[in-house]
């Protein structure tokens, strides 16, 4: 069979099984929905805390910290959704901007308050582990939603898409934890709020490399209607 004949057979087979598909919504629309979900999580976090965050928002560095992490998360989410579309990629400027925003936020956390060292190890651990778990829980639903949204596309670079997805969900959770958690001690925040962000983002990148990357299935007739 010649190439032209094979091509004809292939095209006829594909055309014969074609069904209408619903194209992906634009990145902005999907990002908007994800931010809406994050807003709902924010409302829940704000109504289930003993932290007087409204008073703290009067301090510029605190407000800036929360805003920077939220902005970095939004940018990461946008990159993740964009990576789900073949031919569109995360620009180096946008990646760099996201990283810089997060780093400036971390720097603000580190220099915002003097570090306390008077904790007993037991106290440090018992309080901290709870915060780490809470950070992960706050990120869980947005992470699942964003993973699903990215998976619905066809990401060509699984690890990058996974890392962006993890970074988006966890950075937002970090910002939410600054609202929810009453402790402002940099050592506590950097250890128990930031470490889960880094660890889960790395795990998300690994998971993305394994499961998020677009791999065509054997049959050609499937469609996502």
């Amino acid at each position: 069979m010649t190439h032209a004949e094979r091509h004809r057979v292939l095209v006829e087979a594909l055309a014969g099984t074609i069904k209408p598909v619903r194209p992906l919504w634009p990145v902005r629309a999907r990002l908007g929905l994800w931010l809406l979900l994050e807003a709902l999580v924010l409302v829940w976090a704000a109504t289930h805390t003993g932290n007087d965050f409204m008073r703290k928002f009067g301090h510029l560095d605190y407000a800036l910290e929360v805003a920077l992490f939220a902005a970095a998360a939004t940018l990461a989410a946008m990159l993740a959704l964009r990576l789900a579309i073949p031919g569109r990629r995360a620009g180096p400027t946008e990646v760099a901007l996201s990283v810089v925003l997060a780093l400036v936020g971390i720097a603000l956390v580190a220099i915002g308050e003097p570090m306390r060292t008077g904790y007993s190890l037991g106290e440090f651990l018992s309080v901290g582990v709870g915060c780490a778990i809470e950070t992960c829980l706050l990120a869980a639903l947005p992470w699942i939603a964003l993973w699903w949204a990215v998976k619905r596309g066809a990401p060509m670079r699984g690890a990058a898409a996974g890392a962006s997805t993890g970074a988006a969900a966890l950075l937002f959770a970090f910002a939410l934890m600054r609202i929810k958690c009453p402790i402002d001690d940099p050592l506590h925040i950097l250890t128990w709020h930031l470490m889960p962000v880094l660890v889960i983002t790395a795990l998300s990148a690994l998971a993305g490399a394994a499961w998020l990357r677009f791999r065509p299935r054997g049959g050609g007739g499937e469609s996502r209607t």
Binding site: H3, A4, R6, H7, L10, V11, E12, L14, A15, G16, I18, K19, P20, V21, R22, P23, L24, P26, A84, I85, P86, G87, R88, G153, A154, M156, F214, R215, P216, R217, G218, G219, G220, E222, S223, R224
Partner: protein
């Protein structure tokens, strides 16, 4: 960005005289330029004719090259618009647009694959790319050029293929000479299948004979045996297992 675009005069391409696209972005693809792009300039232009024209005289080179580049860009743009429009129709489930688009991008995909995959594997990868394009068709964003989307998928499939090939090759060990046999070894004699078959239960023997010796299909063999396809598969599987065991036992005994 380097966007490969098919401008091959030979082979399948967007045909003039197709149903004019309608609806969903029709305003962007007006009838006149659509027909114009698919008839005159596209067919009149060939790389060879450009070379001939360039060799006519050095004075004309600068002017004609500029004109051709302009025409080239316009054609490319128009063709990209048509492809994008066809892709939108494909997303809506239009089989004719699917045929037109895949025929048009076929030569470009083939060219893309040359040099990226081994020549004896081009057909396989070509097919995989088309399957992938088809499966990922919902991810194409209307209003954007098709080519970056198309070639990102093609690149991904080709890279996957190369990776698999490399992994396979890394497990294979090439040796210059066949390993020498130990002095006492004798070349293994082919197993006596017929003799071994007599040692199988009748139902398993029948299943094996129909499928492997007579070359019957599962359905036909199941019909003849008067059992379901599943039951026949089970019998055949048991026969394979028993034979493997018998052959292994003979080998050890020899």
């Amino acid at each position: 960005m380097d966007i490969p675009v098919s401008i091959q005069p030979s082979g399948p391409g967007i045909r003039a005289g197709m149903d004019r696209p309608s609806g969903g972005g029709g305003g962007r693809c007006a009838p006149t330029p659509f027909v114009a792009a698919t008839e005159a300039p596209c067919c009149a232009y060939t790389p060879e004719s450009r070379i001939e024209r360039l060799s006519e005289g050095s004075d004309a080179i600068a002017g004609s090259a500029a004109r051709m580049k302009k025409a080239d860009d316009a054609q490319r743009l128009e063709r990209s618009r048509i492809r994008a429009h066809l892709m939108q129709r494909l997303q809506q489930g239009d089989a004719d647009s699917c045929r037109l688009l895949l025929d048009d991008v076929g030569p470009a995909v083939t060219r893309f694959l040359r040099g990226r995959v081994a020549s004896d594997e081009v057909e396989d990868v070509y097919q995989e790319i088309f399957m992938a394009l088809f499966q990922a068709r919902h991810t194409y964003e209307a209003g954007r050029p098709l080519e970056p989307w198309l070639f990102a998928i093609a690149r991904n499939v080709a890279a996957d293929h190369s990776r698999k090939r490399w992994t396979r090759a890394s497990w294979e060990e090439l040796t210059p000479d066949l390993p020498e046999r130990a002095a006492g070894d004798s070349p293994a004699a082919p197993p006596d299948i017929e003799g071994l078959l007599t040692r199988l239960p009748a139902a398993q023997r029948e299943a094996f004979a129909m499928l492997k010796l007579d070359g019957m299909s599962l359905e036909d063999a199941a019909g003849r045996a008067g059992v379901s396809v599943g039951a026949l598969k089970v019998r055949a599987h048991r026969a394979y297992k028993a034979l493997r065991k018998l052959i292994g036992g003979e080998g050890e005994g020899a």
